[in-house]
Symmetry: C2
Subunit: 410 residues, 2 copies
C-alpha cells in the first residue's frame, strides 16, 4: 500500500511529540507500506512568526509573508526526518517546491494547480520515507506560496491524489468525525464513515477536523480519507464517496457555529437588481456572506437578511450604511448574539419531512428560529446564541444519533 499521512502542528509541537510521530510513521513503514508524511509547522511557530511581522510593519507584502511563514514547515520536516533517521530508517525531507507542488500566483491562499511527483516517486522507489512540508508550494515565477489556513490537509490530499495513494490518513487530536461536538453532547457518536458531501457541510459548518478545500479535493479525485487520532490506534472515520456510504442514514451529524452575526435590511424596494446591488457592495468590502434570506413583506417591498462571521460585522455595517441610502431602504439592524445549528445527512434528499422534524424538535424546546436555509443534504437555522446547546441536544435526540457509530468512550 501507498499511505499518505498528515500530522498537524500540535502533533509536532515539541521534540518529544516529534519522536512520537516518527515512531508512528515507522510503524506504518514496517507494516510494509510506502509512506509519505505531510507535516505542519510546530505548535505556535506560525503565530510567533506573525508576531515578529507585527513588530516590523502593519502592511507586510504578501509575497514576503509567504517567504517567511513557509520556514515553519521547513523546520518541522527537517526535525521529523532527523527523528525518523535516528531510529535507523531511510528518510528524506522535501519542501513543497521540492515535492513539485505547483500553485497559482495568489500569495497567502494559493491554490494547487498541478503536482509534479517525479522526485517524490524516485525517493519512494529508493525505499525512503518521504517527509513533505505542508501548506506550501511554488508558483510559476519560482516564488514560494502558502495555501492558507489548514493548507497542510490540502497538501496531503493533493499528494495522495497525484501518487494514487491507497489512503490518506489525517491525524488529529480527536478520534474521528462525530455526530456532533462531544464537548457539548456527551452522547455524541464517532461515525465509522461519512460521505465527502456530508463532511464538506460539517467542515464548512465549523466542525474543523478537516479543511473544506481538502475535502473538495478528495471528492474530486476520489481520495479515500481516514480521519483518526494521533494519540491511539483506534479506527477513525473513513470519508469516501456517497455510493460507498450506507444510505439508510438520514441525518449523520449536527453542527453548530457561534461565529455568526445576523444583519437585516428593512423595507427594500421590490425592484429587479436590488439584491445584486446589496451583495455587490458586501463583496467589494470583502464580507464573507453565508446565509441569505429574502422575504416579501408587502407588495412593494422586501426584507433581506444575511449572516456573516463576527470579524466581518464592522465592514458589513459600513456597507449597509452606504447601501440603505443608495437603494432607499428604510434601515437595517444587526445581532451578534446568534448561532447557527445545522443537520447534515446525505439521506435527506430521499426522506421528506426531515426539515419539519427539525423545526418540531426546536419548537418543543421553545427555541425560536430566526432564519432558515436548506441545501440538498443540510438544513440550517439561525437561533439565539444562548440556546445553542439546548438545540443541539434536542436535535441529537430527535434524530437518534446516539444509535449511530461507536460511542465516545470506545
Amino acid at each position: 500500500m501507498l499511505v499518505v499521512q498528515k500530522y498537524g502542528g500540535s502533533s509536532v509541537a515539541d521534540p518529544e511529540r516529534i519522536h512520537r510521530v516518527a515512531r508512528r510513521v515507522i510503524e506504518c513503514k514496517e507494516a510494509g507500506n510506502d509512506v509519505v508524511v505531510v507535516v505542519s509547522a510546530m505548535g505556535d511557530t506560525t503565530d510567533d512568526l506573525i508576531d515578529l511581522v507585527k513588530k516590523i510593519t502593519d502592511k507586510p507584502s504578501d509575497r514576503e509573508y509567504d517567504m517567511l511563514l513557509s520556514t515553519g514547515e521547513q523546520v518541522s520536516i527537517a526535525l521529523l526526518a532527523m527523528a525518523i533517521h535516528s531510529y535507523g530508517h531511510q528518510v528524506i525531507s522535501l519542501t513543497g517546491p521540492q515535492a513539485g507542488i505547483k500553485t497559482n500566483e495568489v500569495y497567502n491562499k494559493a491554490k494547487i494547480t498541478n503536482i509534479r511527483p517525479q522526485r517524490l516517486q524516485a525517493e519512494l522507489a529508493k525505499g525512503q520515507i518521504v517527509v513533505v512540508a505542508g501548506f506550501q508550494g511554488i508558483n510559476e515565477n519560482d516564488d514560494i506560496t502558502t495555501l492558507g489556513r489548514g493548507g497542510s490537509d490540502t497538501t496531503a490530499v493533493a499528494l495522495a491524489a497525484a501518487l494514487k495513494a491507497d489512503v490518506c490518513e489525517i491525524f488529529t487530536d480527536v478520534d474521528g468525525v462525530y455526530t456532533t461536538d462531544p464537548r457539548m453532547v456527551p452522547q455524541a457518536q464517532k461515525l465509522d464513515s461519512i460521505s465527502y458531501d456530508e463532511m464538506l457541510e460539517l467542515a464548512s459548518l465549523g466542525a474543523l477536523v478537516l479543511q473544506p478545500r481538502a475535502v473538495e479535493f478528495a471528492k474530486h479525485y476520489n481520495v479515500l480519507l481516514h480521519v483518526r487520532s494521533s494519540f491511539n490506534h483506534n479506527e477513525g472515520t473513513i470519508v469516501k464517496g456517497v455510493d460507498q456510504v450506507e444510505k439508510e442514514r438520514v441525518v449523520s451529524g449536527i453542527a453548530h457555529d457561534l461565529n455568526v452575526a445576523k444583519i437585516a435590511l428593512f423595507d427594500v424596494p421590490d425592484q429587479p437588481g436590488i439584491a445584486s446591488k446589496v451583495f455587490k457592495v458586501l463583496a467589494d468590502a470583502n464580507v464573507n456572506v453565508d446565509m441569505i434570506v429574502q422575504s416579501t413583506m408587502r407588495n412593494d417591498s422586501n426584507d433581506i437578511s444575511f449572516t456573516c462571521p463576527h470579524d466581518d460585522l464592522k465592514k458589513a455595517i459600513e456597507a449597509m450604511e452606504e447601501i440603505t441610502k443608495t437603494i432607499g431602504a428604510k434601515g437595517f439592524s444587526y445581532d451578534e448574539e446568534v448561532a447557527k445549528v445545522s443537520i447534515v445527512g446525505a439521506g435527506m434528499v430521499s426522506n421528506p419531512g426531515v426539515a419539519a422534524k427539525m423545526f418540531e424538535a426546536l419548537a418543543d424546546e421553545d427555541v425560536n428560529i430566526e432564519m432558515i436555509a436548506t441545501s440538498e443534504i443540510k438544513v440550517s437555522c439561525i437561533i439565539k446564541a444562548s440556546q445553542v446547546k439546548l438545540a443541539v441536544l434536542a436535535l441529537h435526540n430527535k434524530f437518534e444519533l446516539e444509535k449511530l457509530g461507536s460511542s465516545v468512550k470506545s
Copy 2:
C-alpha cells in the same frame, strides 16, 4: 554603481535593528545605486535551531541539518524585505537557491561552484532592491546546502563577483580592519586599506572580521571589499589587490591567537617518511594542524613540534600515544598555555630584517620564543600565553603601527 552589502546576524538580531539596516540599504539605493543585500540569520536563531536538533538526535543527517539551518536566513530576508517595503521602496527577497547560488554536494560546508544571476539581474533591472539569503545554496540534486561558518561573507563576495559589482560592503560591529586588536592595544589603528593576502593572513590568524574563504574568493575575482561599521558612516577598510595598496608599508598588522596548543615529539628516528607517518595519523584523526617545526638535534634523531587548536588537543594526544610506539620515538609533551603572535605585511618580502626586528622586540621584553614559522608576508611565533599582551604591545610599538591609518577614536 552596483553595490553588494552584507549584514551579519547581530545587525539583524531584532525588529529595531532590522529597521536600521533597512534605512541604511535605502540610503545606498537613494544615492543612485543598484543594491543587493546579503543577510545572515537573526542573532541567536542558528544556535536555537541547533539546540532543537540536540533534543531530537545526537547524529543529525547532514542533509536535514542544512534543510533546517537554512530557514534562519529565510526568516531574515523576508523580514528585512518587509521593513524596506514599509518605507515605500521596491524590494524582493530571494533564497540562496532563487538567487542561483549553486554549490557542490558537501552538506554543512558546501562550496559555491557557480552562480546563475539571471533572476537577480532581472529584479535589479526592474528597480528592485534585492535581499538575498546568505550562507545557503542548492546542489545538483536540487537540495539545499549551507556554506559553513561565516558563509554569508562568501555569498556576498560571490554575488559581487558574478554581478561585477563595483564594491562589496561588509558591515560589522567594528570600524574596519585594525593594526591589532583594539581591545588589547588602545593605540591600534584602523587601516585605510589592506591587500587580500594580508587580510587572508590576519583572518586565518584569528582577526575574524572576514571569513578567509570570502577573502580568497574576493582575491580570485578581484572584488573590491569595504569592511565598515553598521553603527556609523565612517569610511572603513578597503581590501584590494596588492598592486593597489601602498607598498612602502612593511608590517600592516599584529595578530594573536590564544586558541593554540603545542605538542612536541622527542627523539624521532631520522628516517625518510617519518614526518609523513606522523601527520598522516593526525589527519586521519581530524586534527587541524597549524604550525610544524622540525629540528635535527643529533645526527640520528629529530624533534618534531606542531600546534593545533585546543579542541583538537585530546585527539592529537591519542594520535601521539599511538605513533610514538609505531615509529619508536622517545616520547612527547604538550602545552596548552601558549599563544601565537604574528606580524603580517605584504611589504615584508622586499624588506629583509623584519623577522630579526620582531625577535628583538620580543627579546627586549623577555618573551621567550618557543616556535617560529614564516611565510612570504607573515612571521609567527609561539610564546607563553601569559605574555601575549606584552608581546603584541611591544611589536605594535616596534613597527610604529600607531602611525598607520586613522586612530580608534576617530
